[in-house]
C-alpha cells in the first residue's frame, strides 16, 4: 500500500499536483503573511538548488555560497538604490556579476581538493562579508542599502504586492528546478556525479576536471545570485548580515534535511524547515540547538535526507517485489534514479 503511494509520488502527475498546489497557495493561505513566508522559502530554495549543484552533484563543499547570495543582493540593491537603474537590468547585472565572480573564485579555489577547498571557500565567504561590512564608500557598510527597487511589472502587475511577487518567485523556482532536472539527466549532470565519486576515477574516464568543476561552480553561484537578487527585490532593505556565514550553514541544513544530490530534496528541506521555524517563533534564536544535532544525526544515520531515504526505500521495495510483478516492476524507474543520485 505504502509502496503504491510511493510510486504514485514518483509519477509526473505528482509533480504537476505539487505545482498546482503552489499556484493555489495564495488562495489557500489564511493571510498575506503566510504567502510572504512561502515566497521567502522559495527564494532560499533557489539558492539551495545552487548549492546542490556544486555540493550535491559535484561533491565540493562550498562554504562561500551565502557570500554569493549577498553579492547578488548587493549588486541589485546598489544599482537600483544608488545608481538609478531599474529592476530588470539590475537583475540581469546581478546574475552576470555573480557568474563572473563565481568564475574568478572557482578558477582559483577549484584547484584545491576537499578540505582545502572547503576551508578556502570559508575564507572567501568571510572576505565577502568583511568587504561588504567595511567598504563603506561602495556598500554603506553596516547601515545597509535602503530603497531598493521592486521588480517593474511593465504596467501589468504590481510586484510590490505580496501575491504577484509570490508568483514571480514561483516562476523562477520552477525554472530553476526544471533546469536542475534537465541537468541531472544530461551528460553534464552525470559528469558532475562522476567527479563526486572520485577525481581520479572521473579523470580516467577522460573528464576535464577543472572545466567541469568550474562550470558547476559558476552555475551554483548564478543560482545564488538569482536568489539574492530576488531577495533584495522582496525585502528591499539589505545589510552586511546577508553575507553572514550562518546563511550558508542554514542552506546546508536545508539541503541535507531534504536530500543532498536529489531533485526534490532542496525544495522539501527548505520549505519544511522554514515553516517549522516559522511555527515555532520562540525558537528563532535557538533553532540551532535542534538543527545542529539534527545535522549530525542526519549525516550519521540518514546521509541522503528525506528524498534520498525515500528513493532507496522505494528501490528496496521494488527489488523485493520484482519476482512477483516482473512486468510492473520494470515500469518503476526508482532503482536507476536512486542509484544515480546516491
Amino acid at each position: 500500500m505504502l509502496f503504491k503511494i510511493g510510486s504514485l509520488l514518483m509519477t509526473p502527475a505528482a509533480r504537476y499536483g505539487l505545482l498546482a498546489l503552489a499556484i493555489l497557495f495564495p488562495f489557500l493561505a489564511s493571510n498575506e503573511y503566510q504567502v510572504y513566508v512561502m515566497a521567502s522559502a522559495f527564494v532560499w530554495a533557489i539558492a539551495v538548488y545552487g548549492l546542490n549543484i556544486i555540493t550535491g552533484f559535484c561533491g565540493q563543499l562550498n562554504l562561500a555560497h551565502g557570500g554569493f547570495f549577498a553579492i547578488g543582493a548587493y549588486t541589485l540593491g546598489l544599482l537600483t538604490a544608488d545608481h538609478g537603474w531599474s529592476f530588470w537590468p539590475a537583475f540581469l547585472a546581478a546574475l552576470l556579476m555573480t557568474a563572473a565572480l563565481g568564475f574568478l573564485v572557482g578558477v582559483v579555489s577549484l584547484r584545491l581538493k576537499e578540505h582545502y577547498f572547503a576551508i578556502f571557500t570559508l575564507c572567501v565567504g568571510f572576505i565577502i562579508y568583511l568587504l561588504i561590512d567595511k567598504w563603506e564608500e561602495l556598500t554603506h557598510g553596516p547601515i545597509g542599502v535602503r530603497d531598493i527597487a521592486a521588480p517593474y511589472g511593465f504596467g501589468l502587475v504590481d510586484f510590490t504586492e505580496t501575491t504577484p511577487f509570490y508568483y514571480l518567485v514561483l516562476a523562477f523556482l520552477v525554472l530553476a528546478i526544471w533546469f536542475m532536472g534537465r541537468l541531472s539527466r544530461s551528460l553534464l549532470g552525470r559528469t558532475f556525479i562522476a567527479i563526486r565519486n572520485g577525481d581520479e576515477l572521473a579523470e580516467s574516464l577522460g573528464i576535464n576536471l577543472m572545466r567541469n568543476k568550474v562550470l558547476a561552480f559558476v552555475l551554483s553561484t548564478t543560482y545564488a545570485g538569482l536568489a539574492g537578487a530576488l531577495y533584495a527585490g522582496m525585502v528591499r532593505f539589505i545589510g552586511p548580515e546577508e553575507a553572514n556565514i550562518t546563511h550558508t550553514f542554514d542552506m546546508i541544513t536545508y539541503l541535507l534535511v531534504g536530500g543532498i544530490g536529489t531533485i526534490t530534496g532542496p525544495l522539501l528541506g527548505t520549505v519544511g524547515i522554514v515553516w517549522i521555524t516559522q511555527s515555532l517563533q520562540f525558537l528563532e534564536e535557538y533553532r540551532m540547538i535542534i538543527f545542529g544535532p539534527l545535522l549530525v544525526v542526519l549525516v550519521i544515520f540518514f546521509p541522503r535526507g528525506i528524498t534520498g531515504q525515500f528513493l532507496s526505500w522505494m528501490h528496496h521495495k521494488a527489488q523485493a517485489m520484482q519476482p512477483r510483478h516482473k512486468a510492473r516492476a520494470s515500469k518503476v524507474t526508482a532503482p536507476q534514479e536512486a542509484r544515480n543520485n546516491a
Binding site: 555540493t55 561533491g59 563543499l61 582559483v108 579555489s109 584547484r111 584545491l112 576537499e114 578540505h115 582545502y116 572547503a118 576551508i119 578556502f120 570559508l122 575564507c123 572567501v124 568571510f126 572576505i127 568583511l130 568587504l131 567595511k134 556565514i245 550553514f249 546546508i252 541535507l256 534564536e285 535557538y286 533553532r287 540551532m288 540547538i289 538543527f291 545542529g292 544535532p293 539534527l294 545535522l295 549530525v296 549525516v299 550519521i300 546521509p303
Partner: protein, 287 residues
C-alpha cells in the same frame, strides 16, 4: 622605535594565541584527517567556562583555567566518540557537515545560557610593566610565556613519553600504527582532549584583553585554518610558525596599513598563497 617594539609584543601575543588554537586543530587533522570546524566553538566554550568559574563560582583565575580546560577536553572527547567516530568510514564531506552541526549547536547552547552580550573577563594580572619606556601589560606577557611553556610541554609529551609517541606514530602512518598494536580509539580520544584543552587555555589567556561572546570563535578558527594551511596540515612546528606569521602580519598590518582591514590580511594571504601553491606552503610538513 618604541611603537615598533610595541607592535612586536602585539604580534607575539596574537601569534601565541593563534598558535595554540592552530596546534589543537593541526593535531586533530594529523590523526583523523578531519578539518574540525567545531574547534572555534570549543575555544568559545572554553572562554565561557572560565568566565562561569570565575564570576559565578568565584574561583581563582588559574583554577578556572584548569577547570575550563578539563571541561572542554571532555567535550572534545565526546565529540570524537559521538560524532566523528561513527563517521570514520563516511565520505569526507560528512565529517565537515557534522563538525558544522556541532559548531551551530554549541553556539546556540551558550547563547541560550548567557545571551549574546559582550562580556568582560577580569584577570589578576592587570599590572603594566615598564622596561625603560617600553610598556608591556602583564597579561600579554603571561600569554606569551604561557604559550611558550605549553608548546614546550606538548613537545616533551609527544617526544619523550610512550603515549605521546603513539600520537606521533598514528599521525605518520595509520597502518603502521595499527601494525605495532596502537589503539586507534585511545589515540583519537586523547588527541581531541589535548586539542580541546589547548583551545580552552588559549581562550582563557586571551579573554582578559578581549571580550567574551558567543561568536568569538569565528574569526579565530578561520585564522587557525589559514595558519595550518600555511604551515602544512598536520604539522606541529608549522602551526606554531604559521601562528607567528599571521600574528605579526596582523599586528604590523593593523598598525601601519589599516585597522579596519586587519582581519582581511590573514585571508588575503591565504588566497594569495593557495593561488600560487594549491597544496600549501609546506605541503610535506614534518611531524
Amino acid at each position: 622605535m618604541n611603537l615598533f617594539f610595541q607592535q612586536i609584543i602585539n604580534g607575539l601575543t596574537l601569534g601565541s594565541i593563534y598558535g595554540l588554537v592552530a596546534l589543537g586543530l593541526t593535531l586533530v587533522y594529523g590523526i583523523l584527517h578531519i578539518p574540525n570546524f567545531a574547534h572555534g566553538a570549543l575555544y568559545m566554550v572554553g572562554a565561557f567556562m572560565s568566565y562561569f568559574f570565575m564570576v559565578d563560582l568565584g574561583v581563582h583565575y588559574w583554577l578556572a583555567m584548569a577547570g575550563s580546560a578539563a571541561v572542554v577536553a571532555i567535550l572534545g572527547v565526546l565529540c570524537e566518540r559521538l560524532v566523528f567516530h561513527p563517521l570514520r568510514h563516511s565520505p569526507p564531506i560528512h565529517d565537515k557537515i557534522a563538525a558544522i552541526g556541532i559548531l551551530l549547536f554549541l553556539e546556540a547552547l551558550v547563547q541560550m545560557f548567557w545571551g549574546s552580550d559582550f562580556r568582560r573577563m577580569s584577570s589578576p594580572f592587570t599590572g603594566i610593566m615598564n622596561f625603560d619606556g617600553l610598556i608591556i601589560p602583564e597579561q600579554r606577557l603571561l600569554i606569551i610565556a604561557g604559550a611558550f611553556t605549553l608548546v614546550f610541554a606538548l613537545q616533551m609529551f609527544l617526544r619523550k613519553t610512550m603515549t605521546g609517541a603513539t600520537i606521533i606514530a598514528m599521525a605518520q602512518s595509520r597502518e603502521g600504527a595499527f601494525l605495532v598494536g596502537i589503539d586507534a580509539n585511545r589515540v583519537a580520544m586523547m588527541t581531541f582532549a589535548i586539542s580541546g584543552a589547548l583551545a580552552a587555555i588559549a581562550a582563557t589567556l586571551y579573554a582578559p584583553i578581549n571580550l567574551v561572546y558567543p561568536a568569538m570563535g569565528h574569526l579565530v578558527i578561520m585564522k587557525a585554518f589559514v595558519i595550518i594551511i600555511l604551515g602544512g596540515m598536520g604539522s606541529i612546528p608549522g602551526a606554531i610558525a604559521g601562528g607567528m606569521i599571521i600574528g605579526f602580519a596582523e599586528a604590523f598590518g593593523g598598525f601601519y596599513i589599516s585597522t579596519a582591514y586587519k582581519d582581511i590580511i590573514a585571508f588575503g594571504l591565504l588566497v594569495l598563497i593557495l593561488s600560487v601553491r594549491p597544496q600549501g606552503l609546506f605541503a610535506k610538513g614534518a611531524h
